[in-house]
């Protein structure tokens, strides 16, 4: 790393304040992965099309491959690692597990973050609205059907309509 051209960024990542020297051109996705070691955020393309890199930036779902680390200065970032961990999974994570919303799991962090963003904007989506809302993500494995079911399940749980099976499944 050439130190002469770096700038300092301060970010709250998954609730923890991080101060790092970065090149101005460094992508947020690379910052998270390479500087902070948060490798749950994946990079699946170079044209901002696949959504694998999606994180929450000040609560909004964004593709971290299209944001420079310096643009996220003084903002809060939530990655999949901060969404929930075992023992305290986010309802979206739990629903992806329960409904088989993933196969290889590579797209999954980004798809789940996209789903979190989607449910913030529309807490009670129809399955058509879920499919529309997932337009910014590509999953090559699942055929999307189980992802749609997972998002619908998460919406139901988050709206407090959780059936006993969904609640009981929380590990």
């Amino acid at each position: 790393m050439n130190n002469q051209d770096t700038v300092q960024v301060t970010m709250t990542v998954n609730g923890r304040t991080r101060v790092e020297q970065v090149e101005p051109r460094l992508l947020l996705a690379h910052f998270l992965r390479d500087h902070l070691g948060l490798t749950g955020t994946h990079i699946g393309c170079d044209t901002s099309q696949c959504g694998a890199c999606t994180v929450l930036l000040d609560g909004q779902a964004v593709k971290s491959c299209t944001v420079l680390a310096v643009q996220a200065d003084h903002q809060a970032v939530t990655t999949v690692e901060g969404l929930g961990q075992r023992g305290g999974l986010h309802p979206v994570q739990q629903a992806f597990w329960d409904k088989h919303g993933l196969q290889c799991g590579f797209c999954t962090p980004g798809v789940m973050m996209t789903a979190v963003g989607l449910l913030q904007q529309n807490p009670t989506p129809t399955s058509e609205e879920i499919r529309e809302g997932l337009d910014g993500v590509i999953c090559r494995c699942t055929g999307y059907e189980t992802i749609v079911r997972a998002v619908a399940e998460a919406a139901a749980v988050m709206a407090g309509e959780a059936g006993p099976s969904a609640a009981a499944a929380n590990e």
Partner: protein, 782 residues
Amino acid sequence: MSKLVGTPVKRREDARLITGHGNFTDDVRLPGQAYAEILRSPHAHARILSIDTTAAQAMPGVVKVYTGQDLAGRVGTVPTAWIPPASDLKQVPHAVLAVETVRYVGDGVAMVVADDPYIARDALDRIVVEYQTLPAVTDQREAMAEGAPQLHADAPGNVALHWTVGNDTDEVFAQAEVVVRQEFRQQRLIPNPMEPRAATAQYLSATDELTVWLTTQNPHIHRLLLSGILGIPEHRLRVIAVDVGGGFGSKIACYPDEVLVAYAARDLNRPVKWTEDRREHFMATTHGRDHYEEVELAGSRDGVLQGIRVKSYANMGAYLSTAGPGVPTILFGLIVNGAYRMPVASSEVFGVFTNTTPTDAYRGAGRPEATYIIERMVDLFAQTIGQDPLEVRRRNLLRADEFPYTNPFGLAYDSGNYHAALDQALTMVDYPAFRQEQAALRAQGQYVGIGFSTYVEMCGLGPSQVAGAVGFQGGLWESATVRVHPSGKVQVFTGASPHGQGEETTFSQLVADQLGIPIDDVDIVHGDTARVAMGWGTYGSRTMVVGGAAISTAVDRVIEKARRIAAHMLEVSPEDVVFEDGVFHPEGVLDRQATFAEVTIQAYLAWNLPQGVEPSLEASAYYDPTNFTYPFGTHIAQVSVDADTGEVRVTKYVAVDDCGPVVNPMIVEGQVHGGIVQGIGQALYEGAVYDDDGQLVTGSFMDYTMPRARFFPQIETAHTVTPSPHNPIGVKGVGETGTIASTPAVVNAVMDALSGFGIQHLDMPLTPEKVWRAMQQVQDEQ
């Protein structure tokens, strides 16, 4: 006794994957690692006149720049590993970096290793390569024509292989009442697993060991090939594939860039990491399909199929990829009669070099191409003789009492009830009502269609003797070691290498049931050549079929040994001991028993073992299948075609598949869904396009349409269960059925929708523009 098999056990893989703790190759971080980038040819065909790396080499942070010249004599070339018999295959060397000539856009020219990935990228721009461009050819039929640019001196006419199979069809065709002819183009596809390929290599000079973390579907095959190419003894080379983010065939091949990374790590005595970006994936990872087929189908006027002959031109790309030559030959040509009784059939295949990315397996690999043509031909035949395509299928599908059925190429279809699957699928749609509605809508200028695909495919290839006979330069057995730890917890080491298919879960289901222990007592280990015995990996829907059978066999051996120890403990003879629900007891006597855990600890203590029984409790199996397995089923697609825009929408999709007993219905459904969407991708959306100069025009997700969630309706699935007699657990394989079946189902549906226009056939992908133009042309002519 079976408790978990057949139930939707939630996946144990998921805990790490949903929390960001997957361990994909690019996630591997090693102290002091350097980063590689590969300079790729911008030309489809050119001579390299000079390469000047001075400026790149001089950049701060650049560790080393390699060119083909630097490596000549130090690194071997990448070979193909499938040499179909009597095909006159031309083994052309694929240098890991081009030395004199580049042959496709994406061919490696130089590699930079730098301290930082961004610097490595910058340094690529400072390498100056002088090229003399040569004429290029990207289409296989043009490549075979007189005067076409020649790719390899050793392959005149660019013919990489020429292979024929089948029986004499002349008489049948000469006497047939009806012969239907059609030419098909099966477009080139780009696999695009969401995880790009990557390699991270580390060399430990103290022990002279090289470890390569790799995005591979078959770590042991990679180790074998890398060992040969790099001249590193196999026992000093370790290949690890932890989490792999999908492969779909594209992570079978051994690629030049992987060799380079491994080489550089040793050369520099420093860890080196390389991850392709999506742009590179499009140009440098193997592609799939890309065939032309000329097909003739013979039959009687009243609807009996009598024979098929196929002439196929397969685009191999610029070099022969690892499994590339086997795909358009063995995996295609032997099953072009599909699920139908057919007295004669023949296939003739030309594999052709062109200035394009090499092709290799892509989900289904050969069988989608075969299924597409037979399913399309059956529809065209039905149309020609004026029968309903459903009736023609009913008439010609093999009946349950005809199995085992030997097809015209000598394949022995194992078992099946094709009519039952068709009947079940028909309960999920209202066919007569659809036909009525279709007619009514047509009168209003609206177009809907229905398409059938009554497919069969082949999985779980083997035995290895057959692998040899068909030219695969490897075995097709699978390994399993079942190690019971002293406390009764079990680790299973499998040579299969799942990468999204969920076998950490399904294998555990098998083992837990067989041993009568909780699933949490079972752990599945895969994807590491240092931990797992030689095995052949995951592809061709073989993992449960062959890998599962290996595990099941090894567990049986564990039980047999444990039974002898238990008998000794219970003071009865082993024949009198039964094993039920994890407990050994004398036949009919339940109050004297030894649990699996009790027997296990005795096996390890070895204080009092029966004579001739060694300590410990562990068994291995190397399962070589007795024959292929043949999953089958019926898929039905309903579509609407927008008369104004040509846009096709799939409005309903029904899939009835028979993969034998279902180990985990949730996972099987997921495999089917994913496969169907991928197959519809080919039918409607995807297609790689090269321009005349050999530039890949569809080189990113902006130009290459990947199936997205909003393109699809809900997919309805169901199963029939016909166990395969060809393996001990009866399973037939399910990883590829969806992709194989769905493409023709949807294309048949679109052609059905357009039948009023008199359009016989349109080649895929059936994009709005293509469909609209075809409708327009007919209307203009009228």
